[in-house]
Amino acid sequence: MIDTRFSPLILAKGLCKRYPSGDAWVRPLQDADIKVYPDQFVAIMGPSGSGKSTLLHILGFLDRPDKGAYCFNGQDISLLEDDALSLLRASRVGFVFQTFNLISQCTLLENIMMPFLYHPEPPENAREVALIALQKVGLAERRMHRPDQLSGGEMQRAAIARALVVNPIVILADEPTGNLDAENTRGILKIFKEMNENGTSLVVVTHDIEVARAAHRVLFINDGRLNE
């Protein structure tokens, strides 16, 4: 059996992704390698359009690379069917997006509980677990509010609560502070650090120096490759 503490949680080699663009190709990923060990907080930086989101989508099994190998937690992703990938996303991975992506017709609490709808083994006390997650991000009193009744910082904290409610082994965040001011950014960072100390790995795409500074490692993406 693989000892997951010393083998990488995320191990990807030679990832390629290209999109047709008129007669030519856009190649956001060309032979990109990435390794993330358990408990690591990794920041990924790079210019706009360099393929950061593309990489994160592949790491979160939302997309498949055109070429390259990807092992998550010792599992070869290319061997898994669509449903198995959904199951991995439901139980092992949490996503945080720049635009929060809460579901507008549902209350905060319902949003936070939503991952349990798709979880293979939802806890019996899903509601309590969701409330605890909301408490961690300081939004317990706002549980019956709709997303549009919240500020940007609050929405992002709620989105983080949704990501961590299933207790994932890694959180993938795509510019989580891109729409937030300095103070809210600090709030989010504080939550990230706490989570990281509690054993959740973090892969955060960011333009923000503050966020990059908080990370253990910073990777730069350039010409489709990742450099330390």
Binding site: L62, D63, L87, R89, A90, Q105, L117, Y118
Partner: protein, 418 residues
């Protein structure tokens, strides 16, 4: 927690989510389901009315008995005899009864002579229908007693001056003491009331015009079979109705043909009589019912199709508007099937609510309509069940394509949508 309660919980969640999504666009959801509402309402209304009519027809035919044949004087049906000139239309007579008795399978024969008379006990000195009957008549026509007794064979033989009154007539008679035992005068003669019939209801409806008389407003007196003023004779065929009971209902077909033949023979080919065969009426009613069901089914199918297209249209709009939501749900772990179930659930919830509204609307319309056209209405469980199945089926049909479209979206494209 066992698996069942987990899936029950998830079912509830799916419904709640569907409700949330539909509630986002209340008016739009409402409008999209109107087609289903009207389709279901139409079906429930028509079925309730048809079911009521059918039940009434079956009951009436059943009361007549499937083993009976009724012969009626056709002239008496159309022309009220003008007694001032002593003119009586050619009717049915003793020779007819004798001939019918020869037909194999005939068990009993009941008969009646109808005339109109004045009943002074009626406040308004109205004219009533009087039926002179033999004692078999009540059983043969399926009449039932509210109180007292029928006219018996002894009454007929001994020429007792007794009578049985229809339910409404009994109510209208204003005699001191009223009811059983009181004396009423029919054409001047005193008759003692020995029985009152159970109320039958006005049966003169479109469904069964031939079979029924207004027994509720008739008086029955014994028909004396021999001698006297009202005696039956071959020369004076004056019966208005003969009811033939067969030993079993299988021989009805040939027996009714035989009856027609002998009566025709007795009249030298003049068909001034008509045959009512309940079994044939029933078959006819069933046939009509089947046709009606086919027409109804087609109408329901077409309106359901149109309603379903409306729902599908809205569901497609929902799916494309919520592309991003689909991406988000996929990102937090939803499988394709979860997405499909979600949108299918919305479509079914939409049509089920439309169906429920349609059942309410249709039942209400049936009641109102039944009130105005004085038609028996029967709101039973099966049209409602049918309506529920119909609307759920429409939801499935209309929601399937949009749901699959949603489920098969590429998660990344869905997330990048906007």
């Amino acid at each position: 927690m066992n698996r069942l309660s987990v899936s029950a919980g998830k079912g509830r969640d799916v419904l709640l989510q569907a409700w949330r999504a539909l509630a986002m666009h209340r008016l739009r959801s409402l409008l999209s389901t109107l087609g289903i509402v009207f389709a279901v309402a139409a079906v429930v209304t028509m079925l309730s009315i048809a079911e009521g009519a059918k039940r009434e027809a079956m009951e009436q035919v059943g009361r007549l008995g499937l083993d009976s044949i009724i012969v009626r004087n056709a002239m008496a049906e159309n022309d009220v005899p003008d007694l001032r000139f002593g003119f009586m239309p050619e009717g049915l007579g003793n020779n007819d009864i004798r001939a019918i008795k020869q037909i194999p399978g005939v068990e009993r024969i009941a008969f009646a002579r109808e005339f109109t008379a004045v009943l002074p006990e009626l406040g308004e000195s109205d004219v009533i229908h009087v039926l002179e009957v033999n004692h078999d008549y009540f059983a043969a026509r399926g009449l039932r007693l509210a109180e007292g007794r029928f006219i018996s064979g002894i009454d007929v033989r001994n020429r007792h001056q007794v009578c049985v009154l229809g339910a409404e007539l009994a109510d209208r008679v204003e005699s001191p003491g009223g009811g059983l035992g009181s004396i009423v005068h029919i054409d001047g003669g005193p008759y003692r009331v020995v029985g009152v019939l159970l109320y039958r209801g006005h049966a003169d409806n479109e469904a069964m015009p031939l079979v029924l008389r207004d027994f509720d407003n008739a008086a029955f007196i014994p028909l004396h079979e021999t001698e006297g003023a009202f005696a039956l004779s071959d020369e004076d065929p004056s019966l208005s109705e003969i009811v033939i009971k067969m030993s079993d209902s299988l021989s009805i077909g040939p027996a009714s043909a035989a009856v027609r033949r002998v009566l025709s023979w007795n009249r030298g080919g003049v068909e001034n009589f008509e045959l009512v065969v309940p079994k044939e009426l029933l078959a006819q009613a069933r046939h009509t019912q089947r046709l009606f069901n086919i027409v109804l089914g087609s109408i329901a199918g077409i309106s359901l199709l149109v309603g379903g297209i409306g729902v599908m249209n809205i569901m497609l709009a929902n799916v494309s508007e919520r592309t991003r939501e689909i991406g988000i749900r996929r990102a937090i772990g939803a499988k394709r099937q979860h997405i499909a179930v979600q949108f299918l659930g919305e479509a079914i919830l939409l049509t089920a609510m439309g169906g429920a509204a349609g059942v309410a609307l249709g039942s209400g319309a049936a009641l109102v309509l039944g009130f105005f056209i004085a038609w028996p209405i029967s709101i039973s469980a099966w049209p409602v069940l049918l309506a529920i199945f119909m609307s759920i089926g429409a939801g499935l049909g209309a929601g399937m394509y949009p749901a699959l479209k949603a489920a098969n979206m590429n998660p990344v494209d869905a997330l990048r949508h906007n």
